[in-house]
């Protein structure tokens, strides 16, 4: 079983300690979690790209119903698009996934799409190890804090925050409003599913962002999927930044 990637070195930790200054205002004492989290099988790290996405301001309403037919998604100019998620080689990730993003009304709106012939959702509560099943992960890195939001096909959210070098605090709540739309039968592998999609609104203040043009946050997004044959693949947009446009 593959272990999470570790990059710690003494030097880096020291430098990080110097750099970290007052970030993670909402970081609370880490709450110990059950053994499921500490032994969760890590997905492969194989998303490959990333850069800076210029995120447009909302130009129309978005209704969180799992459908992206709202003016906020479809109006002229459209949302920022990651394009098809990719493997580190640059090859398209399969099954296909992508993400679209806009901001406004104090929220970051994210639409996630996952083609999926066999939708498997970890049967876990909020803040459980959703990554045991098919799931998306969004990571926001800012002011020495890393905030992760995992979301499953059934709309369950696991969110956590950590200071550089620290452990994850799952008591942090992103306040993300999530709606999903599933075309298929979750956790039934005997039939053919088609896809699942997530529409979510993340309060910007939970990300310690002001919601102003020009604001930037580190960002990555990826999706892991287990196929009918049991093989597991993770692909993503990579690691980069979101910049809020006017």
């Amino acid at each position: 079983m593959e272990r999470p990637r570790r990059r710690n070195t003494a030097l880096l930790a020291i430098v990080a300690a110097l750099v970290v200054a007052g970030g993670c205002a909402r970081l609370r004492l880490a709450r110990r979690l059950g053994s499921a989290k500490s032994t969760a099988p890590p997905p492969r790290v194989d998303d490959a790209r990333g850069s800076r996405l210029i995120v447009p301001h909302l130009t129309g309403a978005i209704v969180l119903d799992g459908d992206t037919d709202d003016p906020g998604w479809t109006s002229s100019g459209g949302p920022a698009r990651t394009g098809p998620f990719a493997l580190p080689t640059g090859a398209p990730g399969r099954p296909y996934s992508d993400a679209r993003i806009v901001w406004g009304d104090g929220h970051l709106y994210v639409a996630l799409y996952a083609a999926d012939e066999d939708i498997r959702s970890a049967v876990e509560p909020h803040d459980g190890p959703l990554w045991l099943g098919d799931s998306f992960r969004l990571v926001f890195a800012r002011d020495a804090c890393e905030r992760t939001i995992d979301v499953s096909p059934t709309g369950t959210v696991t969110d956590a925050v950590r200071r550089a070098g620290g452990s994850f605090d799952y008591s942090w709540e992103s306040g993300a409003h999530v709606s999903t739309e599933v075309d298929g039968t979750v956790n039934v592998s005997s039939d053919a599913d088609e896809e699942w999609a997530v529409e979510m609104a993340i309060p910007l203040d939970s990300l310690e962002m002001r919601g102003e043009p020009g604001e930037v946050t580190g960002f990555s997004v990826r999706r892991c999927d287990t196929a009918k044959d049991g093989s597991r693949t993770c692909a993503g947009w990579g690691t980069g930044e979101l910049e809020f446009a006017r």
């Binding site: 479809t74 190890p129 992960r137 990826r222 930044e241």
Partner: protein, 424 residues
């Protein structure tokens, strides 16, 4: 080696230290895995990894090009840099007008000489898409005859199959896979011999069922389909109803008459003189040595009338019987899958041709899945289409053609006799 003056050395050392500090700082921010309690792989691993890798790498969308443009060049689509005003191309490239993957006029830096024919744009199978072996497709003996909206006659059965062409998400018309489906139909037209007709396995849109984008997307599809001069016989998919696999459209059915259903009927069925989403097309040999019927089943517009029609149609003896239905037997939440499968089991047939899953495979002894017509791919295989070809011994062979190269997947080939048993 060139000597570096002392002051420069200090500057370099200082720069190196600053770079080390800043790089390490960022790395530290992103490398905090410490106690195994963390969600796996959450670390942000370095900023802005997107590099300018548009050295003629294959693409289907500009988002894949890291700031470059996915442009149509030399019969394929490749990532190339834009040449904006005041920004010259690299020495080995020249700024030329081109068309991007969505049909917009653009100016891009194109390699001088061979257009994207170097090591990175080989013109052969694009990189990073598996190791599928491909070879030129042999369409076999010439075909004569004519198959129009009412069927027809042909010296042998020889037709193309396209399936599942839609954007990934609802109403995202700008992401309609126009370049892919255009190329697919261009390849079909260019096959030698040219298929007498084509069939499609459904899902031409992804649009709000009561909105107007469905009609717009169908227009895009029809624009691409014009690249092929033969008749197209379409099956209805779940996205021509509400989008859900378990949806059921039509008068009297649970989901009623959606705009997508109406647009499908008016734009795809009316041209072939069909009023219902289920219908039969008959084809035969001019000398009467064989007959074939193609039965288009609409599992997302399932009614008792359709069941009766299917029962009667399958009872009619023909040498070959092809069932074309959007959902395969395993996608049995579609209202018409189980009942139509039950009818099929009680009658002879040659092959069921289905879509729904966005890949291709022989999905059963007598079922082939062709769903790789531009919709977001679910498997490792590439976009493309199938060709069904009747040989002199009466067997029908099925091959898959890659949309980018026009070559056949040599790992995918099977043949059936008219009764559906395997042929050598």
């Amino acid at each position: 080696m060139e000597r570096i003056p002392g002051s420069t050395v200090w500057r370099h050392l200082l720069t190196a230290f600053v770079l080390l500090l800043s790089g390490a700082s960022f790395a530290a921010l992103v490398s905090c895995a410490s106690d195994g309690e963390a969600p796996p792989d959450s670390a942000i691993a370095g900023g802005g990894a997107g590099s300018a890798t548009f050295a003629c790498s294959f693409c289907v969308a500009s988002e894949q090009c890291h700031g470059g443009i996915c442009a149509q060049l030399g019969g394929d689509t490749y990532c190339v840099p834009a040449c904006l005003e005041g920004r010259a191309c690299r020495g080995d490239r020249q700024c030329l007008a081109a068309t991007d993957v969505r049909g917009n006029e653009v100016r891009v830096c194109v390699p001088r000489g061979d257009v994207c024919a170097g090591p990175d744009g080989t013109g052969a199978a694009p990189r990073g898409r598996g190791s599928t072996a491909r070879a030129a497709y042999d369409g076999g003996a010439p075909v004569t005859g004519f198959v129009g909206p009412s069927g027809g006659s042909a010296s042998r059965l020889y037709f193309a199959v396209v399936g599942d062409t839609r954007p990934p998400t609802e109403d995202d018309t700008p992401s309609y896979p126009l370049a892919i489906i255009t190329r697919i139909y261009a390849h079909i037209e260019a096959l030698s011999p040219r298929p007498l007709f084509a069939i499609s396995t459904g899902d031409y849109v992804f649009a709000a069922p009561r909105g107007t984008e469905g009609a717009t997307q169908l227009d895009l599809y029809l624009g691409a389909r014009k690249r092929y001069s033969g008749t197209l016989f379409p099956a209805m998919g779940n996205h021509e109803c509400t989008g859900f696999t378990d949806s059921n459209c039509g008068i009297g059915n649970a989901d009623g008459v959606t705009n997508n259903f109406t647009a499908f009927v008016s734009k795809l069925l009316t041209p072939i003189h069909q009023a219902e989403p289920y219908y039969e097309i008959d084809i035969g040999a001019p000398n009467g040595t064989w007959t074939a019927k193609l039965l288009f089943v609409a599992a997302n517009a399932w009614t008792a009338s359709q069941a009766t029609w299917l029962e009667q149609a399958m009872s009619k003896p023909t040498t070959y019987t092809f069932l074309i239905r959007h959902e395969g037997a395993s996608a049995d939440t579609a209202p018409g899958v189980k009942p139509s499968e039950a009818i099929m089991r009680s009658h002879p047939y040659t092959l069921a041709i289905v879509g729904h899953s966005h890949t291709y495979e022989r999905s059963g002894a007598r079922e082939v899945l062709v769903g790789n017509g531009g919709a977001p791919l679910s498997g490792s295989k590439n976009y493309g289409f199938a060709v069904v070809s009747q040989s002199a011994d009466g067997a029908v062979a099925v091959d898959m053609i890659d949309y980018a190269s026009g070559l056949a997947d040599t790992n995918f080939h099977f043949a059936l006799r008219a009764d559906g048993t395997a042929a050598p």
